[in-house]
């Protein structure tokens, strides 16, 4: 597949359809390819597409849209939701974008492999359902499915929402493992407030306020985040107090509520492994329950749940009535 992508990209570069290609470039370890622009067919020799190309390239298209000429971008099925959402918010330029929807077998979480005690990784290759890992401490094996990023264990499906052409995404392709993505949210909801508070204290206290979650998030596309401006006296660079962790993450989740496509990038990049997607999914779950099923990024013109209403919407008191445990 990688070869097919490179071939097609070369064609599109050569025939002038696009002047640059946004894809992933081979890293210097077995698992760290980086998002990269390729400006000529020659540069494409470093192009890579494998399970570690988890990075969602949609957000880079905000910057690419401002550059001269058209850009070819490779988007995995779930990345296309983000791209659509960005179209809706007038943040990307669809006209200047050529989208190749690429098939996806699921993307991998290197930390899951490392946490299993596999150290000194030199290279990783896939053999059927198994990852063969060459390390300085010998060769190891790891089941492919066990290395999937959390988001890929609850895959939204293999259908691209927006594209100009598809490669490696054949019709009727099987969806990835479709777990219940709200399982953990439900588990938390079933806890007592004390337990929930302890859970989040434990998680959020790890936050180092590096802003990786925000900066990678395709929904966080503000030119200047409220947490970087003085509009609400909210500009803080560190969590001096636990309140700031709560404030930052609650407001961030709130700002992307109804716009978050659940792409899972926030949790993927968090250096402290905070399950940030659980905040976003809580909003998604609530929105689905209160206002009817909604998937951000499925279309480019519907009203987002928070810029919409019905006369019969539930009252905020539902939170108390529904109650959970106390």
């Amino acid at each position: 597949m990688q070869e097919r992508l490179i071939e097609r990209a070369k064609e599109l570069l050569s025939d002038g359809t696009v002047v640059r290609v946004l894809g992933w470039k081979q890293g210097d370890l077995g698992y760290n390819p980086e998002p990269a622009y390729f400006n000529s067919p020659e540069e494409l020799k470093d192009f890579v597409y494998d399970g570690f190309c988890g990075a969602n390239l949609s957000k880079y298209m905000i910057a690419a849209g401002k550059m001269e000429g058209n850009t070819l971008v490779f988007l995995k099925p779930c990345d296309t939701y983000s791209f659509n959402q960005l179209i809706k918010e007038h943040r990307v330029n669809r006209e200047k974008t050529y989208i190749i929807g690429v098939g996806c077998k699921g993307t991998l979480d290197i930390d899951k492999i490392k946490n299993a005690g596999i150290k000194g990784i030199e290279s990783i290759s896939q053999d059927g359902d198994t990852l063969k890992i060459q390390t300085i401490y010998g060769e190891k094996e790891f089941p492919f499915n066990d290395a999937l990023l959390e988001r890929c264990t609850v895959c939204k499906g293999k259908t691209h929402q927006v594209y100009d052409e598809l490669i490696g995404a054949e019709e009727g392709e099987e969806a990835g493992p479709a777990g219940n993505r709200f399982e953990m949210v439900e588990k938390l909801e079933a806890m007592t407030p004390e337990e929930r508070f302890a859970f989040w204290q434990n998680e959020l206290s790890k936050c180092i306020r590096c802003n990786a979650c925000r900066n990678v998030c395709p929904a966080c596309s503000c030119l200047k985040c409220v947490f970087d401006s003085n509009k609400f006296d909210s500009a803080q660079k560190a969590n001096v107090d636990t309140f700031e962790e709560q404030m930052f993450h609650v407001i961030r989740a709130f700002h992307v509520a109804g716009r978050c496509t659940d792409c899972g990038e926030c949790s993927r990049v968090c250096p402290q492994g905070i399950p940030l997607h659980l905040l976003n999914r809580k909003f998604i779950k609530d929105i689905n329950e209160f206002y009817g099923p909604y998937q951000a990024g499925e279309d480019t013109d519907s009203r987002a749940p928070l810029t919409d209403y019905t006369f019969e919407d539930v009252e905020p008191g539902i939170v108390t009535e529904r109650g959970g445990k106390h």
């Binding site: 918010e89 030119l223 200047k224 509009k231």
Partner: protein, 661 residues
């Protein structure tokens, strides 16, 4: 840094009895920025205002905090005082230490402590206040009346008589409305047409009134003083300038099977029709859905018989765009559907009718030419039963929670008229209560009982069933506590009225608020009964609540006066507390635009200089004349680019901080 003056009002003893005013002054004086603090008996008095003006001059104050009654009471007074002393009126903030403090707390210690905090919050806010300038907007000297019933006609006449142009938009082919369907009117029993027709003619002839019949309001933009309205003139298929109103076309039209709306479907009409003889304009319309020419392309009889050559099958809908300073809603009512009241057999028996249908039956121009007869066999009835409160005063979803107000009186009228004209007909009225507030109303009802021998029974009917050509009415007499089972020939249901179903659509276009029953909400139930809370929108007739003709006419006049009062102004002062977007922070994401109820936000491609980075960005721009200052956009905006002047993020946060300190 602001130089703030704090003025604490005693309000006689209203405040001073429970709030230690001196302590509030003392505490306020210590707040940062405060350079002057004093108290006075009545700050709102001329002497009190003078104190503010003097302090502004002497101490060079830039911000004012008045600790007094509710800002809803005297905010304007103090703003004006500040303005007279040369500072911007929006540099004044009120701490409400009367309604929100002294009047509800008994303990002096507690009340004083709270007053200090409220003062502190107002000081914190005023520190961040910025001078705001009110703009002005023009007033278009023309009014629009939506609905051409008696309410709309009367309003239009009164406005036109005051010398302003008025347009009436009426959905049906003729003005006249419900009143034109009525036979007689209570309590004087004069003929409805006899009193309505002259008004219709007067409106049509008035040189300041333009009537758009068979037309609907399609789009409304703008705001008080300058609404822009698109009116859709539906294709009449008859050229109004050529038609003489001779009526031959209607006679010759071969398609005569369409239920006649004007007669409530009790008979049929032709496809080309005028709803009734006195219609204004007296120009028919072709009902394209039922016209053979439009359905099959063949026919064209009307065109052939029209001497004036007025028939125009090619006519298209036309959009008229017009600006108005004020809009009056007079959309009236309809009766509710009775499909949920099976117990009364309305949908199964033609002899069970609504009161409005009875009006048509009683009317000389109606389906029976005014003869009282059963619709099933066209025989005159020997007995009739009237059932009150059908769908009114209902707690469940089948009906309406309110009293329809007019039914008691028209039922008495019907009963009386029938007993008068057909003395051998037995008339029984089943009622829950008889409600007759109004001049000469109860006397009217008593005459029906005492002089005309109408039999009033207290108790609701449980069931009406058809049985051998008769109607079996099962009821109860609550006074005698006995079952009533009676056979009758006709049953008349006093059906609840409800606002015209189109009103919700119109209210949305006008951003006028509406209650759960679809009645338009008035700005104040007692003091502003003919104004909608949306500036420039006025209410006339039943669209605001159930009422009879005299009340409707009175309200129509009142609405007209309010409109005239508005149109008489040369310009309006706009609210300066509007939203404002910081173009350096704006992402152009359109969230704000989506929640703006006034369409005040648009987007522009704009060249910005963001700390040295020059680029063209899509940014939100607020039209301050349209913005009403609700602030919905400020919260929809994730980046904090959108802020509300006078209630800015930082001002509100400062208040929060001051309260929680």
């Amino acid at each position: 840094m602001q130089r703030i003056g704090v003025f604490v009002c005693h309000c006689g003893t209203n405040i001073a009895a429970t709030v230690d005013v001196a302590r509030v002054v003392e505490a306020a004086a210590k707040e940062p920025g405060v350079v002057h603090a004093e108290d006075y008996q009545y700050m709102c008095s001329e002497a009190g205002q003078l104190k503010i003006r003097e302090a502004i001059k002497e101490k060079n104050l830039t911000g004012i905090v008045v600790c007094s009654c509710s800002p809803r009471m005297h905010e304007n007074t103090f703003r004006q005082a500040a303005e007279r002393a040369g500072i911007n009126p929006y540099m004044v903030e009120i701490a409400n230490i009367r309604e929100h403090c002294s009047w509800i707390h008994k303990d002096i210690e507690e009340a004083t402590e709270k007053a200090v905090i409220l003062a502190r919050a107002a000081i914190a806010k005023v520190t961040l206040n910025a001078p705001l300038q009110s703009g002005t907007s023009r007033v278009v000297k023309r009014a629009l009346v939506i609905g051409g019933g008696i309410a709309g006609i009367q309003t239009a006449l009164d406005i036109a008589d005051a010398g302003y142009e008025v347009d009436i938009v009426e959905k049906t082919p003729s003005i006249g409305g419900r009143m034109s369907q009525l036979d007689k009117t209570f309590p004087t029993l004069d003929c409805s047409a006899c009193i309505l027709t002259p008004k219709m003619v007067e409106a049509a002839a008035h040189d300041k009134i333009t009537i758009y019949t068979y037309s609907e309001v399609e789009k409304v933009s703008g705001f008080v003083g300058d609404f822009q309205v698109d009116i859709r003139k539906k294709a009449r298929s008859v050229d109004m300038s050529k038609c003489t109103g001779c009526g031959v076309c209607q006679e010759k039209c071969p398609s005569k099977k369409t239920p006649n709306e004007f007669n409530r479907g009790l008979n049929t009409r032709s496809a080309i029709y005028t709803p009734f003889a006195q219609a204004i304009p007296n120009v028919p319309v072709i009902d394209r859905e039922n016209c053979i020419k439009f359905k099959t392309g063949k026919c064209g009889v009307c065109s052939k018989v029209c001497q004036a050559g007025a028939i125009d099958y090619e006519q298209k809908d036309e959009i008229v765009t017009q600006n108005y300073g004020a809009i009056v809603v007079a959309t009236g009512f309809d009766t509710i559907k009775l499909d949920k009241f099976d117990e009364y057999s309305y949908s199964t028996s033609p002899d069970v009718i609504t009161s409005l249908e009875l009006e048509r039956i009683m009317n000389a121009a109606g389906p029976t030419k005014g003869h009282l007869e059963r619709m099933s066999d066209h025989k005159p009835p020997k007995s009739m039963v009237f059932i009150q409160c059908v769908g009114s005063r209902c707690a469940d979803k089948r009906g309406k929670s309110y009293c329809s107000k007019i039914c008691c009186m028209y039922t008495a009228k019907h009963a009386m008229l029938i007993r008068d004209k057909y003395p051998d007909v037995e008339v029984t009225v089943f009622y829950i209560d008889v409600r007759t507030p109004g001049k000469n109303f109860d006397e009217f009802y008593r005459r029906a009982v005492e002089e005309y021998g109408v039999n009033y029974i207290k108790g609701q009917v449980g069931k009406v069933a058809e049985k051998g050509g008769k109607l079996l009415v099962q009821g109860v007499d609550l006074i005698d506590n006995k079952r009533i089972l009676m056979e009758t020939d006709m049953v008349v249901l006093a059906t609840a009225i409800e606002p015209n179903p189109d009103v919700r659509k119109i209210a949305t276009m006008l951003t006028a608020s509406i209650d759960t029953n679809n009645f338009l909400t008035e700005s104040h139930a007692k003091l502003r009964p003919v104004e909608s809370p949306t500036a420039g929108i006025f209410l006339s007739g039943v669209c605001q609540g159930p009422k009879d003709i005299p009340e409707t006419v009175a309200q129509a006049g009142a609405a007209a006066v309010k409109v005239v009062g508005l149109l008489a102004k040369d310009h309006l002062v706009t609210n300066p507390c509007t939203a404002k977007s910081d173009e350096l922070l704006c992402n152009g994401c359109s969230s704000c635009e989506k929640v703006c109820p006034y369409g005040a936000i648009s987007y522009e491609e704009k060249e910005v200089n963001d700390h040295g980075i020059r680029e063209t960005r899509r940014v939100a721009v607020v039209n301050s004349a349209l913005c009403q200052g609700c602030g919905a956009c400020t919260v929809a905006c994730p980046s904090g680019a959108m802020d509300l002047q006078g209630f800015s993020n930082r001002q509100i946060l400062a208040e929060v901080d001051a309260i929680c300190r």
